[in-house]
Symmetry: D4
């Protein structure tokens, strides 16, 4: 891996439109990514295999899920890569369920949680992390900071 | 399995004192059980293997967990046995986190959730379910109902 | 009862469209069911009679209700059959009220609670439970698991 | 019934110490009462019978319960007497569960809900209601108001 | 007052459409009422005067309010009549604010709280209370119970 | 009023220990104050009179209350002085009730709300407001800022 | 500053429509204001400079923000002027996030918090505060009170 | 920076005991760190300077705060380094306030949020991130995973 690469994984196809903001931001950073739809509940073996193979393919993982959002934590249980979790909003509990299911991880297995539906920030956090290893990203983060300051 | 057998699994040793009520109630129903400590986050392979083997050993599974309580849902993802989930209370969010993480399962993979710290009820629900297959349990449930009515 | 049979009961006609997912899933499992509209608050005698007769007619009961959702717990108070509770979402409290009213049962009288509006999962949980007694359902559950894994 | 009489009913013996404030306040108003421990979940027939007989014995009913607090609503389902509900605080959800289970009644079957653990206020509300029929209570309510104003 | 009479008061004209259910139900019970728009925050003197005069005009008061819903409690502070409080749903906090502001009254000054937007139940509760003094209402309550049982 | 003067009012004697932080901070600012215990629910006339007279005696009012904390809003309804509200924490709902009851004021009648149990900050906010009129307080606020920066 | 002047600052352009109510109300009070869009997270230097210069330009500051609404508290950290905070409602958590982020300030640095989306009340609170220094505003506040009382 | 170095910053000295778990875990990973107590509200200039200098001294920052926990977000506003946020539990709102204040960051400025009081996980997440740049840490993470699996 001479080039940064991010694995994006989501529990449900219905989350893909929200993740377009993640994709767009990663593209702007010039960070390659691969999107997978797999569920900790419906396709646990696929998730376990995905996580086991992840260290060979990816620098870090972005995992999105709604409701009893186990996916980010389960991925984190299988890998030592950093895992960024995006809680997806749903009707009724308004995302409280996904937020608590992702952020309240037990000692030993963290998930770096962003805001409910925080798809763009997941990509920016990924870039901040990857910039430690790939210094070329640093300049783009500096430019983003500058752009944010212009409003 | 001519005799009913329940697998009890919990994410943390610290939950074992709460589960003593589950054990005691199962003993009163004459239902055999086996307790395992394993975590969807810390020991995911053990959990996957446990769940894969479960159908040979158990009639149903009782899974307890606190915080981002993925264990019951992950077990349910690996088996077609009924899975009863017990959300364990913790400081701060008072069990809201465990309750939402266990009950808000996506379509396809249910967890039969009982009250926060509802360790005794998990055993009674198990007995109600097992009575369908093992009619001998029915009489004990009728007796329990009668005892409840005495107060 | 040589064939599995489920009693579905709901507190309000307005919940029937949500329960169509329960019906459709039970039909796919080949499980017979009967739907009843009755309320723990408006028609308590009908509910008590329904619950008293349930053991002769049904293997288990699925009870749905919104707001101060007493129905599942009251049914559970009258029977030793397993009772699956579906909290129905309503405006304002977003289903917090129905969820807490159904899941937070006192020791002695469990309700197997599924997600807010979790109508399909109630049927799958019913099938998992019934498969203990009616082994023919097991194959359909295995097929569902396989289908879920295809995504 | 020439004298006012209140039925107090609670789901659990453990609530009795909280209800001592209800008793003390009713005594100060000179209102007779009878306390019953019965549960909508554990002793549903006793509750149904209690509620069916209530109109002959009582002017109104005060019902206290915690967790999935069905008792006040179920009593209200069986009677046309006014029912005052007291949500009892419990660990974890801090009374949110009991409050929502008691106050969020469906159209047709109200429960007059007071604060979490509002045992004294249940008695005062009872007195305010009974004063419509028993004018002698009015003077005591006026005196209470005056006493409150003294601080 | 040989005829029952209810004072309905609401903090805002915008609540009047919700209160149409209260009016309709009172009309069906043959209970006279008078509607007033006044606010504990915007027109406190009017509210104080309203509450002071209430005992001469009304048997009980129904008070509706949203957000920091002080009106029912403030009315209750000024009178010994029973006060029924209706929390009105608003955007954002979904009625949690109005519910807590109305139900969590301090010892000495109860408000009989019904569900969020529970306008019809406020009228039925009023009828249950008034039936103690005006026995003619009892038959209508019995008929309502019967109608509810028909579904 | 050549000297700044603050009226502190609280709904219950039990809140006085919390308000000692308000007193201590006002003393450090050299701001005179007067403490009154009066309740919007128990002593509404006293509160109305207090608020009506307030403009002659005080520059602003600090009002503390717990549960259905109507006091700050009711005071604000009676005066055009700035009213600072302190929600007081109580068991069960943990101050959610007092916070929502104080901060969610309707358009026209604001309350300047500080944190749950934020007794010291109420005094500092008072000093910031009074410094507009009494420039001598400004120097003390600058000193406080400097002290805060020392940690 | 012989004339009152208010600084309005908001974290996002998208909040400007909500702040039109603040502007309109300030205009009715004849209070000059200046609106700035700046973010504690995106443009922290601009915010720090704004807050540092504020004492020369403004009598007080109104700061609005949504989600992790740090802006009002950060402004308050930089100035001894009174800071009024408006939590802005957003999807999912419904404003709980902004409200808690603004009101729960630590000892030493208060923010005078108004209701979620309470844009008009922020202006009225500003007028109440400014009336201490600019007595001409007092008459307009009295007129507003009178107008409110007309309903 | 040939050696990994983490900046730990907390809003209050009272959080230091909680952060001992962060320190201990970083020591076990052989990661140098420096602890600073500074507040976004009380010492904003110090925080701004800290964040501005951070890129020269640190690879990433761990920021802990309670209540209206602005510190992690404000640090993130000043730097392009990854910022890990630890919400600190406090009485009353039980950490809901700190969690929402830290995780609900607006687009452009992420904070990698861990559980309430998740001090150990903040260190492990830091190690996972630093392992991208300092491969020597990877082996220690693998060992930690192995140790977790032993239970």
């Amino acid at each position: 891996m001479k080039q940064p690469k991010v694995g994006i994984i989501t529990g449900s196809k219905s989350d893909l439109p929200i993740l377009e903001k993640t994709e767009k931001a990663l593209q702007e950073f010039g960070i390659a990514y691969e999107i997978t739809v797999a569920s900790a509940h419906r396709t646990p073996h696929q998730v376990a295999k995905y996580a086991a193979d992840a260290e060979k393919k990816f620098d870090l993982i972005i995992a999105a899920a709604g409701m009893a959002a186990a996916l980010p934590g389960v991925i984190a249980g299988h890998t030592t890569l950093p895992v960024i979790g995006i809680p997806i909003h749903s009707q009724g509990l308004g995302g409280h369920d996904a937020l608590f299911s992702i952020v309240q991880m037990p000692p030993g297995v963290p998930v770096a949680t962003v805001a409910i539906d925080g798809a763009k920030n997941a990509a920016i956090l990924a870039a901040q992390i990857l910039a430690l290893k790939y210094p070329g990203i640093k300049a783009k983060l500096k430019k983003l900071k500058k752009d944010l300051r212009k409003g």
